[in-house]
Amino acid sequence: MSDTLHPAPGGSSRGGPTPADRGLPTVDISGWTCPAPLRDQPRVVMGHGGGGALSAELVQQIFAPAFGGEILAQLGDSAAVSLGGVRLAFSTDSYVVRPLFFPGGCIGDLAVNGTVNDLAMSGAKAAYLSCGFILEEGVEMPVVAGVADAMGAAARAAGVEVATGDTKVVEAGHGDGVYLNTAGIGLIPAGVDLRPQRVVPGDVVIVSGDIGLHGVAIMSVREGLEFGVEIESDCAALGGLVEAMLAVTPDLHVLRDPTRGGLAAALCEIATASCTGIVIQERAIPVPPAVANACAILGLDPMYVANEGKLVAFVPRDHADAVLEAMRAHPLGAGAAIIGEAVATHPGMVVAGTPLGGTRVVDLPLGEQLPRIC
């Protein structure tokens, strides 16, 4: 039976002679960089909206070249723009969540808090939001009212005004009940300049609390996966927490809210954009047991699960303790923890120390996280 396997190393039944045998060069591993083929997806797949490598490619290969402009090239969650002598943060985000109502929230508060948080990651306090409703023909009116009420409540809680809006209806079967888009603007305080490019080796990485809650809450009610779990989405507006952090020092280097793609995607994006390495210690990352256990069943990694009320901050070492203290004094930062630091080695890469004392590379997820069986 052995001859049904490769008969011999080096020259195989299908592979033929090795490259060396044929006088071809072998792959030189040193100095080798990712040669991932570009634009090899003929159509949009779900992963293009997953916040991972596919999303990034879509922006870098199609949107950024088409739009041009230096601001977009920074690829932040929100843009810092100057207008009439003031610095504004400007952001937009669309929301397509199924189911519309989930433990701990609904698409309405998600749409408000998401955009408020994107602005907060520029250091800005959100001032005004716009709101676009795309409704599916046939959706029940109480559903729309429920979503709108949740938006109003979230806006009041975040201290932001929904100032303008729009409604469109699409034919039945062409939408999941309700899609939302919100855009927002806010003022960036003087002296605040939050960009990955400001990260330097030695910066301390802080996460504001338990990770993975939103993603696990959503998965628990998703068709085909349903499970019972007593946790809720962490959906919350982070403007107040950011304000408290900036009160310690305006010299924070970068903030990111680790939404789709989770903490891993946020860290990978910062590592890439800042050209620094990042080292984190897995043990230091706050993961609630229910999140860890749900991930254990589904074969997921909590670091890749979405959050909607958390931020990750890169803080100069001298200010780290004071910033951490200020975060812990705020209700949304009570579980804040230092999880790692920026380093000069392996620029662009995120490496995690495992609880056993080993290391692993934390890579940008390709697309959406999928339960695995092996």
């Binding site: 396997l5 011999a8 592979g15 080798w32 056993l356 390709l366 069986i373």
Partner: protein, 374 residues
């Protein structure tokens, strides 16, 4: 989680590692057969913590990775049909067929759904009596009983619109094939614990004796893996070669008789092709004559689809430890995690994919990587 967390204890891991270090006196090549074990090893950085003499060869035990290209192409063909709801475990969606994957089928209108359990697919069939529901029945002896039970239920409950696309594989013939290949470097096996939970340990003493290799039934948590390695190394150092059960909390000698009886009823042994390796005689299961009407290949007449695997891929040699991933001419050029050619690049735990990540990191090679291939 109880009985999970205890087996991740870093202090006990250190003790096991110390014991392994104090036992090993010369180089040994061990193969962990199961992809789940490979996952634990990479996830916890265990390979870096072992003494340099212990080399782990990542075996062919990832059912997702070894599902042959031909079966993937059949799945894609079936999933693209407008009358079909195609259900699958999450990790199969990204596995590429010849020219697309299931995500791309979905982007062209195919109804492809991720489920946690085959019973969820059966439920979907009950809810959609006018559509054909096909479940992608992949996996080793662990996953075969759930799939067998689901087909059995479909018949018992009279659900005619359910069928199974079967590509089940069996571990012992793979071990036998690996050992029988003339240049095999593997000196011992960590057998897959959960396969043995079902099948028991009866098949291994004969294999251990015939090929004079220790076979240690091993669990999946870090301490389980270390204990499997510890017992294997102890046998090797003492010149022994027996079957040993290092996972007694989940594995009994007789396995699970009820599950084995169901397997014998629903399936029959057949030759199977393993992606990147080739055909291994009697290494798989197909539906037995009694259940043939539930075979999606028959129902959708896709038996005629035949596919040749890419000639450039040498993952079979990688899986058997003949070559290191970067010695394959396609590595990093034709074959990347974004567009994998073979089994070992498909899964993030595959040897090639893991190698790809660490090469980018530019770390000093682990002892395993640095050791020359004999």
């Amino acid at each position: 989680m109880k009985y999970l967390d205890e087996f991740q204890n870093p202090e006990l891991a250190r003790r096991l590692l110390d014991d392994i270090r104090s036992t090993v006196t010369r180089p040994w090549a061990l193969m962990e057969v199961c992809g789940g074990q490979t996952h634990t090893i990479i996830r916890h950085g265990i390979d870096q913590l072992l003494p340099e003499q212990v080399e782990l060869i990542h075996g062919p035990g990832c059912p997702v990775c070894v599902t042959p290209l031909e079966v993937i192409d059949k799945a894609l063909e079936i999933a693209a049909r407008p009358d079909v709801i195609f259900c699958s475990f999450g990790d199969m969606l990204r596995v590429p067929g010849t020219d697309r994957d299931l995500f791309q089928v979905r982007s062209r209108g195919g109804d492809v759904r991720v489920v946690y359990s085959p019973l969820d697919a059966l439920k979907i069939a009950q809810q959609n009596p006018h559509r054909e529901v096909v479940f992608f029945g992949i996996g080793f002896e662990t996953t075969a009983p759930p799939n067998a039970m689901t087909v059995h239920q479909a018949r018992k409950l009279g659900i005619p619109n359910f069928s199974l696309l079967v590509s089940h594989v069996r571990v012992p013939p793979a071990i036998e094939a690996i050992m029988a290949s003339p240049d095999c470097r593997v000196q011992a096996f960590l057998a897959a614990g959960h396969v043995c939970s079902v099948m028991g340990t009866g098949e291994y003493p004969e294999l251990a004796a015939r090929f004079r290799v220790p076979i240690v039934v091993t669990g999946f948590e870090p301490l389980d893996i270390l204990e499997g390695i510890r017992r294997t190394v102890r046998q090797l150092e003492r010149g022994e070669h027996t079957m040993d059960n290092a996972y007694p909390r989940a594995v009994r000698g007789e396995g699970n008789p009820a599950a084995r009886a169901m397997l014998a009823d629903v399936f029959e042994v057949t030759d199977r092709s393993w992606r990147g390796i080739g055909t291994i005689p009697a290494s798989g299961w197909r539906l037995s004559e009694r259940y043939r009407e539930y075979d999606a290949e028959h129902r959708f007449s896709v038996e005629g689809i035949t596919t040749r695997e890419p000639a450039a891929c040498r993952s079979g040699e990688v899986l058997q430890g003949f070559i290191k991933p970067h010695e394959c001419e396609a590595f990093g050029t034709l074959c990347t995690p974004r567009s994998p050619l073979g089994a070992t690049m498909v899964s993030s735990e595959g040897a090639c994919a893991a190698y790809y990540l660490y090469r980018r990191l530019g770390t000093t090679p682990t002892p395993q990587e640095a050791s020359p291939v004999v």
